[in-house]
């Protein structure tokens, strides 16, 4: 900790001003910000098509006051720590109030199914029909099952609490890590706020998914490493306990995070060697993590390679094809769902590009400052590498099959970028003339970085809530078509297997609680979308144990992020497929077991 920071933390004895403390006002501001977000989401769920300005104003009411206070010089360590916790939890609450009734993000029902199965079967490794690899990494299901069984609550409530705790761990660990590496809790606080500019911070990174738990664990393990580095010989073993425990938890929770941890530890070991650091080299931990991750993959999750291979080989092929002009580059700010393309308004694009611009300028200035300071701490080198890598991942956004790989990698690399950018950010507000102006410029840049990141990470049309549950004219609550189907399946046919479009299949998993396959598996996507059936298609489904087929005319049913909401006529996402896609099953003929208009369930074994 710098002497300046130490003085700030020791300023307790002074006379207190008459008004409320800044922290109390900031808490109040964050609460008002949340209320604005909830209000805009409510209008959106009502179908009122509200302006997103109010929503972003709510987000900024959380971000800007915290950023302003955290970047001040005369703030105690304890207050900064409280601000960081408030920051993490408030922005997490933005996501929670967006989807207060059930999980609607693409991976959430898949993991909720795993947690529910853990309680039903009193054990883990129960398999998952949509994403089999998740069953081999049961850390999230294990943790959720503990909260579910001890509290009696649903996987939704338990999951929301668990991911909230994980988000708290993430911001606290980042703060401890950055404080230790920089020696300044002022810089650390600022870096945590800048980290919220990561494209996945607001939404994707807090969905109920295994990576949302494993990334905070990874950062906490790194923070423990940074602490161990400066600990005396007596405490080396003490710090090894949380490091080993956290590493084991990462390995059983998420494949990519465990490999990221291996890469980080190997890099650190190499940097220690190159920098001739007198501190103990972390190579034993790198070997331990590698053996553990490899062993787990071989013993408990041997389908990991089958899952990851197409993702990475597809990304490499896509990059190759894009670079050499064999396929068209992906359009930025476009999210494709089936043949519908959702675009982002010009101003929102400008903000996102502005965020990248600010980050790049901050990166250049930060690297320059690191160079000028002759920083030889291994973690600083590591962060610089990460920051440079982040801009490499931006290029992947132009390759159709690689953009998601780049987007996911950016979550890890942004840790380094946030740290590097915090150097010039702090320098910008050093004492001197026009301090107010420079502070305002910094806060405006942070606002652009955070909002730009959120826009880059989540489709513009999906930023606000859509209706899953509404009140009818008499005040009764009714749910959307896919959710009603899922609840009916859970009640009437819980032991059956279904073939369904992506969104419907996820709802059948949770809240339905039954098994459903989707996508390219068994050509289900083709079978559902084509106008004529081929002779082998239905026998193939039956042969694989599927009893029912869910046909959905809504085009958006193949989009797991948009397909579980109420039908609103006239909106782009509610375009319907040709009636022939439904009629072809009647021509076979098959028994129709359930019909809610857009969704029809066919019994694959019910024939004349």
């Amino acid at each position: 900790m710098s002497s300046r920071d130490s003085r700030a933390s020791g300023s307790r004895g002074r006379l207190l001003p008459a008004g409320p403390a800044p922290l109390a006002l900031i808490v109040l501001g964050a609460a008002v910000g949340l209320l604005l977000c909830a209000y805009t989401n409510a209008l959106s769920r009502e179908g009122g098509d509200p302006t997103q300005l109010v929503y972003w104003a709510g987000v900024l009411l959380i971000v800007v006051p915290i950023a302003a206070r955290i970047s001040m010089e005369d703030v105690s360590l304890r207050e900064r720590f409280a601000l960081v916790a408030l920051f993490g939890l408030s922005l997490y609450a933005v996501k929670v109030i967006r989807d207060p009734f059930l999980f609607t993000f693409p991976d959430e029902p898949i993991h909720a199914y795993n947690a529910n199965q853990a309680l039903i079967h009193h054990g883990l490794f129960n398999g998952n029909p949509i994403l089999p690899v998740t069953s081999g990494y049961p850390g999230l299901a294990s943790a959720t099952s503990a909260l579910m069984s001890l509290s009696g609550l649903s996987s939704f409530t338990a999951g929301v609490i668990l991911i909230g705790l994980a988000r708290l761990l993430l911001v606290l660990s980042l703060f401890v890590l950055f404080t230790r590496v920089s020696g300044s809790h002022r810089l650390a606080g600022l870096a945590v706020v800048i980290y919220a500019g990561s494209s996945n911070f607001l939404y994707w990174g807090v969905q109920y998914s295994y990576e949302s738990l494993s990334l905070p664990l990874l950062v906490a393990v790194l923070a423990a490493f940074a602490e161990r580095e400066v600990a005396g010989p007596k405490l080396l073993r003490s710090w090894a306990v949380p490091i080993v425990l956290g590493t084991m938890a990462v390995v059983v929770t998420h494949h990519l995070t465990s490999y990221a941890l291996v890469i980080v530890l190997v890099l650190l070991a190499v940097i220690y060697r190159l920098a001739r650091s007198p501190k103990p080299n972390p190579w034993p931990f790198a070997v331990f993590t590698a053996v553990l991750a490899g062993g787990w993959m071989l013993i408990a999750a041997n389908n990991t390679v089958d899952y990851l291979d197409p993702v990475f080989s597809g990304a490499v092929t896509s990059i190759w094809n894009t670079v050499f002009g064999e396929s068209q580059a992906r359009g930025l700010f476009e999210s494709a769902s089936n043949d519908l393309v959702y675009t982002t308004p010009f101003v929102a694009r400008l903000i996102t590009l502005g965020a990248v611009g600010f980050l790049f300028l901050g990166f250049l200035a930060g690297i320059r400052e690191v160079w000028a300071r002759r920083e030889n701490k291994p973690f600083v080198w590591l962060f610089c590498l990460g920051a440079a890598g982040f801009f490499g991942t931006l290029a992947l956004r132009f390759a159709p099959e690689a953009w998601e790989t780049g987007n996911r990698a950016a979550m890890y690399l942004f840790i380094g970028l946030a740290f590097v950018v915090a150097y010039p950010a702090l320098r910008l507000i050093r004492k001197g003339p026009r301090l107010m102006l420079r502070r305002a410029a910094l806060l405006a840049s942070i606002a652009v970085i955070v909002i730009g990141g959120a826009i880059a990470g989540w489709p513009w049309d999906s930023q606000l809530a859509q209706p899953t549950r509404i009140t009818a004219d008499d005040g009764t609550e009714i749910e959307s078509e896919p959710i009603t189907l899922a609840r009916w399946v859970g009640e009437k046919l819980p032991r059956q297997k279904f073939a369904a479009a992506d969104a419907d299949a996820r709802m059948i998993l949770a809240p339905g609680g039954a098994r459903a396959k989707t996508g390219e598996a068994l050509a289900i996507k083709t079978i559902l979308e084509e106008n004529r059936l081929l002779s082998w298609e239905l026998p193939s489904l039956r042969g694989n144990g599927l009893g029912y087929l869910v046909a959905d005319r809504r085009r958006v049913s193949t989009d797991p992020g948009r397909g579980s909401f109420f039908f609103v006529p006239g909106s782009q996402e509610n375009a319907l497929r040709s009636p022939a896609t439904m009629h072809k099953f009647g021509e076979v003929p098959l028994g129709r077991t359930y019909d809610s208009g857009n969704i029809v369930v066919f019994d694959l074994r019910d024939r004349p």
Binding site: L35, L119, L124, A220, P242, T253
Partner: protein
């Protein structure tokens, strides 16, 4: 544990929380016990055992408590998976209490005799204005949550009706169970027609359902042994009585086992 008040409190809290989580009939009360029992108490005890006499500042203590607590949750289920009983309320409660007791004991042994130094933690000084702000913020947050969790009308959202049909399990004679679920925006009147066989005379039912209401009807039919009957159930909306609204069909010989 004598002389280490924090460890004593942690052990006591773990036992009480486990009992509340296992025995209390109210989910909210159980949740208030479950979160500390699952995360904070084991996390604190493990951290205390790892660091022994070393005092940690609140920042590192908070991070390590969360890290160790969440890590234990990720790993605990895997341990329970291979033990008799598996994942249940009791086994989780017992595992967590055992971890807390064992690590608290280890922490007490590592710490040795209490050194009598006061804890580094000092309570923050709150004034009336601060308390007022925080209380107001808490009220706003509660209001926000209530607001967010209250479903609102959505006039543009289209309501719908679901019709379903499954073989009846309870009937001695062949029968199908037909259900109508209304998720329409207002009260709706329907005509249901069930036709058994190609030339059968339709049985008609008239229904009126409020939003969110479900009605199930058992439709019996006669089927000669070994033959399948084609059952077609059609639903008509009273606003458009001649236009088919929903249809379900089956070829059935009667009850089929294993449904539901």
């Amino acid at each position: 544990m004598r002389g280490h008040r924090d460890l004593g409190w942690v052990c006591l809290a773990a036992v009480v929380a486990a009992l509340v989580a296992a025995l209390a009939p109210w989910d909210v009360v159980r949740l208030l016990a479950a979160v500390p029992l699952a995360v904070f108490l084991p996390g604190y005890a493990i951290t205390a055992a790892a660091f022994g006499p070393q005092r940690l500042d609140p920042q590192r203590l908070a991070m390590l408590t969360l890290l160790c607590g969440l890590s234990l949750l990720c790993l605990g289920g895997i341990v329970l998976n291979f033990l008799p009983g598996g994942i249940r309320t009791v086994t989780w409660a017992v595992l967590l209490v055992l971890v807390v007791l064992a690590t608290a004991r280890a922490a007490a042994l590592r710490r040795g005799r209490p050194d009598g130094r006061p804890s580094g933690w000092t309570r923050p000084r709150l004034r009336g204005a601060d308390i007022a702000c925080v209380v107001l913020a808490a009220v706003l947050v509660v209001g926000t949550l209530v607001f967010a969790y209250t479903p609102l009308p959505a006039s543009k959202a289209v309501g719908y009706t679901a019709l379903w049909m499954l073989p009846s399990k309870n009937s001695a004679d062949p029968a199908v169970k037909v259900g109508v679920i209304s998720a329409e925006q207002g009260r709706q009147h329907y005509r249901l027609e069930a036709r058994i066989g190609e030339n059968g005379k339709p049985k008609r039912y008239h229904l009126a359902l409020d939003p969110g209401e479900e009605r199930a009807i058992e439709v019996p039919f006669k089927a000669p042994a070994g033959t399948k009957r084609h059952v077609v159930v059609s639903l008509y909306d009273s606003d458009r009585p001649h236009q088919l609204y929903r249809r379900v069909t089956t070829w059935t010989a009667g009850s089929q086992p294993g449904e539901g």
